[in-house]
């Protein structure tokens, strides 16, 4: 079954038939976690770096912020039987939203990714694969059956040329 993750939303699954997808990742981050041993995975689509910007909103919609969103995603996959040591983390998005030659004043994409990296490092995680930055819109798909993450990329401004990246959710070399 296809499960669509909206903005500030998260989905987890332990059903091999499920495919989790999120669309239109600009400066937002799509984070997938997958435990190949348990066959459990999940995805969150976060918008902003830190929940301290609006703690009330963060309580209502934890998947809006990188810190609370990641925490919720991890709690949900652990609940389904995933284990920390097996988790493979793939990140997409964090694009710069500048238009034309204009400046990306708030640099939300970059700040989202920096916050995520700090959080992961402090908590003893490393990103398995990443496709971040640039000036492109991404669609991210996670297949629970095999942990394959597919990222479709399209420039935010102008041309319709699109690219695709496929990450198998295990280390290529090991």
């Amino acid at each position: 079954m296809r499960q669509v993750v909206g903005v500030s939303d998260l989905k987890v699954s332990g059903n091999a038939n499920d495919i989790i997808i999120t669309h239109a990742l600009g400066s937002c981050l799509g984070i997938t976690v997958y435990d190949p041993a348990a066959g459990v995975g999940g995805m969150v689509h976060v918008m902003l770096p830190l929940s301290k910007a609006d703690p009330e909103k963060a309580e209502l919609k934890p998947a809006m912020y990188v810190d609370t969103g990641l925490q919720c995603l991890l709690n949900e996959v652990y609940r389904l039987g995933a284990r920390k040591n097996n988790l493979e983390i793939i990140v997409a998005g964090g694009a710069s939203m500048k238009k034309g030659n204009g400046d990306d004043y708030f640099k939300i994409g970059k700040r989202n990714f920096t916050t995520l990296r700090k959080l992961l490092w402090k908590n003893g995680f490393m990103i398995t694969k990443q496709d971040v930055g640039g000036n492109i819109s991404r669609t991210m798909t996670l297949s629970i059956n095999d942990g394959i993450v597919t990222i479709n990329k399209k420039p935010i401004n102008g041309s319709s040329v699109s690219e695709k990246a496929v990450f198998k959710s295990v280390y290529d070399t090991y």
Partner: protein, 134 residues
């Protein structure tokens, strides 16, 4: 793959800590991680232990990483030791020269993910070579 013994040689304790934490997060079974604060200490460690991989800085007090690497490479006893240099060195000709003596170079500042990928590449190469020689 058998558990690996790794030596970290860097005069900065923070960098040693970052490398150690990165190693602990790598999907590799590690038997032991040893630390040394300069090339001289590193060379003494290499002589008295059996390391699979040495991760070394270049610019250090007492004895530089370059001198330590040269000592390791001259001695055929340590032919099976892989070396990965982690340094802020930006002189391309020096890096080029080093690449003949070492298995990889990581430029400071580095991301833990980049260092992890380099470490995995070196260890994978080492496994293939040691499997071939069996």
């Amino acid at each position: 793959m058998e558990p690996v013994n790794i030596l970290i040689v860097d005069d900065c304790p923070v960098v040693r800590l970052i490398i150690r934490k990165t190693l602990q997060l790598c999907p590799v079974e590690i038997e032991n991680i040893t630390e040394a604060a300069n090339g001289d200490e590193g060379w003494e460690m290499v002589k008295s232990h059996d390391f699979d991989l040495v991760i070394a800085d270049l610019n250090m007090p007492v004895m530089s990483g370059t001198e330590m690497i040269a000592k390791i490479r001259i001695d055929p006893t340590f032919n099976d030791v892989s070396i990965l240099t982690v340094s802020a060195e930006s002189n391309n000709s020096r890096i080029g020269l080093l690449s003949r003596l070492t298995e990889g170079f990581v430029h400071k500042p580095f991301s833990p993910e980049y260092l992890r990928d380099k470490i995995l590449k070196v260890l994978e190469k080492q496994t293939i070579i040691s499997d071939d020689t069996k």
